[in-house]
Structure formats: C-alpha cells, structure tokens
C-alpha cells in the first residue's frame, strides 16, 4: 500500500488546491472510514453544502451509467461561466460471500476521459443494502468541498425503492427501460415515490410508448391534484429530532407549489433527450431553491446522518464501558431463555 501514514492536514489542503492524486487518496481514506479520513472530513465539512447532488437509480441494465455519461458530457459542454466541475460516484454491489466486487460503471463512461473537470470514482456497496455504500455520503462531502458543483451518484440499482439515495440527493432520477418486464414491479416496489424526474431510457426500443404511458398513469394516481399532500420523498427517517423540529417541508401550505415529476425520454447510447433531461434537472434545482425545499432536504439529510452516527457512537461507547463478563452472562441467560430480550437490555443498560 502506498500510503501507510497520511498527513491529514496536507491531504485536505492538497485536495483544496486541486491535487487529483490527493483527492483520490483522501477518497480511499474516507471510504475506509479511517481516522485520517475522519479528520480530513472535519476540516472539509465547513466547505460543503455547495454542490447539487443528483441521484440516478433504476433496475440493473436500465442505462444508468450511459445516462450519467451523457449528463456529465452535457454539463461540461456548457459555456464557461456556469460550467460545473462534475464528480461521478458509481456504486456496485459487493459479493455477500467474498466481500469482493467487480465495479463496471466506468465501461459506459469512456467519453469523459481526459477532462480534468470530471472525476469518476467507483465504490462497492460493502454489504450495505440501500443502494449506496455506508460511506457514500462522506465521499460526496469530499467532492463537494473540493469544488465539484455537480455530483452524480449512480446507485446499485436493485430495482427496489432505494430510499438512501432520495435522502442523499437533491434530485433523484429514476430510470426505467421498456421491455425489461419489470415496469410494474418497479412501481410496486414504491420507486415512484422517490422520483423527482422519471426517465424512460432506451426509447429507441419497442415498448417505450407503453412504458411512458404506464408511468404517467401511475404518477397521476400518486399525485391527485386536488389534495394538499406532497408526495412523501422518502419515508420519515427514524429520528428523534423530528419530534423536536418537524422541519420545513413536512407540512405543506395550500399555496405552496408542488413538483410534478416530469417523464423524459432518452436514448442514452446516442445522447437523445439529454438536453431535455438536464433542463428538467435544472428546473428541479430552481424549484427546490424557490420553495425552500433545498434547505429542508439538506436539514433532513444532516439530521439523519447525525442520528445514524450518534447511534453508532453511543453503541460503541456503551460497549467499551460494559463489562465483557456481564455481557456474556446476559447473552447466555437470553439464549437459555432465562430472560427475555427486553430484560437483557434492561440489565445491560444498568450494567457497569
């Protein structure tokens, strides 16, 4: 391994100066959740909150990577003021048996090579089930602090409602493709609820009309125009702070604008529909800013993250204080059915 000891200050500084090797190494530290990575994140955190985080989810093979390729190209073809630097994170599954992974999203991103305004990083999910790796959010923060103002995150694409991405991203794209026989399946899995923009990719294939019609029908059902309910972006996170502060966006005023997810057709292999898609992404960003939802999503995300970290920290803090023997005894009593799980918890929380 080339870096055994890392000078965190140097690494974070070098990243801010635009050093790409330092960025790559810091991403590794952050991905591995090392002490060096955490320290760098502490330093970089005040600089985050600038980027537009865009999630791309959808069934395997729907064309997510090909679309990411086109979206990034489009952003990079914009005229100079307002031409964003683009970071891409492609998440692929890890093998549950060996922990290894083959990360193949780069195969479809060959057009992006040689542009210093683009940085592509592949991540393995490493056992996480929600479509992202545990440290994907932290990797996003590094890119954000490093000045990438558009961050595209491609999920594993299990075809399930990947709630994690809806929580992480400002704008979530759900990609469907005709003829995959899973249109209805995906809708059942609740994937529409997380979509800010729906993409019917592979529009060059037969069945695109049908897929689009099904999606539009489902959307109409999901968005009755005469109610005040906003579609729930993601299920309420398990979070004690929500009781204290419901946060804006949870309750919707009758006069508040509602975003109806547009359905956009694309042929990602050729770039057809990309301008319309990027236009929809931009309109969504403007909508979020106009309505204050940008801020409330940010707040929700930060709260969820804080809570998740707090949970982990509390457990490991508690575990370091509780006596191994007391823990072992409680476990034995539990397995022998001498006490119930609740009684075990009671005892362990009181144990010293």
């Amino acid at each position: 391994m080339q870096i055994t000891t890392v000078d965190t200050n140097c690494l974070a500084d070098a990243v801010l100066e635009g050093d790409r090797l330092a960025l790559a190494r810091l991403l590794t530290e952050v991905e591995n959740d090392t002490a060096a990575g955490r320290e760098a994140l502490d330093m970089l955190f005040p600089r985050t909150g600038q980027a537009h985080i865009i999630g791309i989810t959808g069934a395997p093979g729907a064309g997510k990577s090909s679309l990411v390729n086109q979206i990034a190209r489009h952003y990079r073809s914009l005229p100079e003021p307002g031409k964003p630097r683009v970071a891409i994170i492609g998440v692929d599954p890890s093998s549950p048996f060996t922990g290894g992974a083959v990360l193949g999203d780069r195969v479809r991103m060959r057009d992006l090579v040689g542009d210093p305004g683009i940085f592509i990083r592949s991540m393995a999910a490493r056992g996480a089930l929600g479509g992202l790796a545990q440290t994907t959010a932290a990797v996003v923060q590094v890119f954000d602090a490093a000045g990438f103002s558009v961050i595209l995150v491609e999920t594993v694409g299990a075809g399930q409602a990947e709630v994690d991405i809806a929580r992480l991203a400002h704008t979530t794209l759900v990609v469907e493709a005709p003829g995959m026989g899973d249109d209805i399946q995906a809708i059942k899995a609740g994937i529409l609820e997380i979509a800010d923009i729906l993409v019917v990719n592979k529009a060059d294939r037969p069945g695109a009309d049908n897929a689009e019609r099904i999606l539009r029908n489902m959307l109409e059902l999901g968005h009755p125009t005469d109610t005040l309910y906003h579609h729930p972006h993601c299920p309420e996170p398990e979070n004690p702070f929500n009781e204290v502060d419901a946060g804006p966006g949870e309750t919707r005023r009758p006069d508040q604008e509602v975003w109806l997810p547009p359905v956009i057709r694309t042929v990602a292999t050729r770039g057809t529909g990309t301008p319309e898609l990027v236009d929809a992404i931009q309109r969504h960003a403007e909508y979020l800013r106009r309505t204050g939802e940008w801020k409330s999503r940010d707040q929700n995300r930060i709260q969820t993250e804080l809570f998740e970290r707090l949970k982990k920290a509390l457990v490991s803090h508690w575990r370091s204080r509780v006596d191994d023997q007391a823990y072992g005894e409680a476990l034995t009593d539990l397995t022998e059915r001498r006490i119930s799980p609740y009684q075990a918890i009671q005892r362990l929380l009181e144990a010293k």
């Binding site: 090797l21 590794t28 060996t98 290894g100 780069r106 195969v107 040689g114 592949s122």
Partner: protein, 139 residues
C-alpha cells in the same frame, strides 16, 4: 470500522476485442475478496492512467493480446509515474515473447502472466505485494 480492501484496475488496452481473459481475472480477484474496477475494451494508455489515479488502485492489470504490448505498456507506466503512482503494482497478461517479457520487467512491470498462469498465483502475488511490498515472483 476501517476496512481495507485491495483495489485493482483490470483493463484492456489496444484494439483487439477479446476480453475473456480480462474478465476471468476480474472475477478471480473479486472471488478473492478484492474490489476490481473493470474498464472494458479498447482503452488508451491515457484512459488507463486516469482511471488508475481516480480509483486510487493498488494494482493495475493489463490484458494484451494484440501484440502491441511494447508500445502500450511503457506508455501506461510513464503516465502513471508522471501522476505520482510509481508504487502501484503493474502486471500484464497475454502471450508475450520471452525477450519482451524481460524488457517489460526491466521497465517496471512486476509480473507477466502467460496463457498457462493460474489466477490463484495472480491473487497471491497481488496480496503479497499490497500487504508487504515484497517483490513478487516473476515468470
């Protein structure tokens, strides 16, 4: 918490369209618990060096069947050095004549695996290198 995974770029430079060998190696490394970044066919040395940098890999495997190894491999190595990645292990797979093998080893390739090589030995070599920075067995 801190999980250290070996990351390997498996790639196919040059113009030949056979990626079976590369895929076999990619799968073997995955089955050995490594994270393999697979780029697909027809990669230029520039594309390979850029991917190696962005992915911060421990090792780069080049599968070359086109016979263009003497043109491609030195360029990949030079670009990686220019990027500050001189410590990344580079290995080559393919049918490569003995004198060329010697030359590749001289310019910094760690190992050349011919058609008879077992994937297990590749796994072993990468592990040894990454964990201990030991020079690996050469064949």
């Amino acid at each position: 918490m801190a999980e250290r995974k070996i990351r390997v770029l498996v790639t196919k430079p040059g113009l030949d369209g056979h990626d079976r060998g590369a895929k076999v190696v990619a799968r073997a490394l995955r089955d050995a618990g490594m994270e393999v970044i697979y780029t697909g066919l027809r990669q230029t040395p520039e594309m390979i060096a850029e991917a190696a940098l962005q992915e911060d890999v421990d090792a780069v495997g080049l599968s070359i069947l086109s016979g263009a190894h003497m043109a491609l491999v030195p360029r990949v190595i030079n670009l990686m050095r220019a990027n500050g990645q001189e410590n990344v292990l580079v290995f080559v797979g393919g049918i490569i004549p003995e004198p060329d093998v010697r030359h590749l080893l001289e310019i910094g390739v760690a190992a050349v695996y011919g058609p008879g090589s077992s994937t297990a030995s590749i796994v072993e070599d990468i592990r040894k290198y990454v964990l201990g920075e030991k020079p690996i067995a050469q064949n």
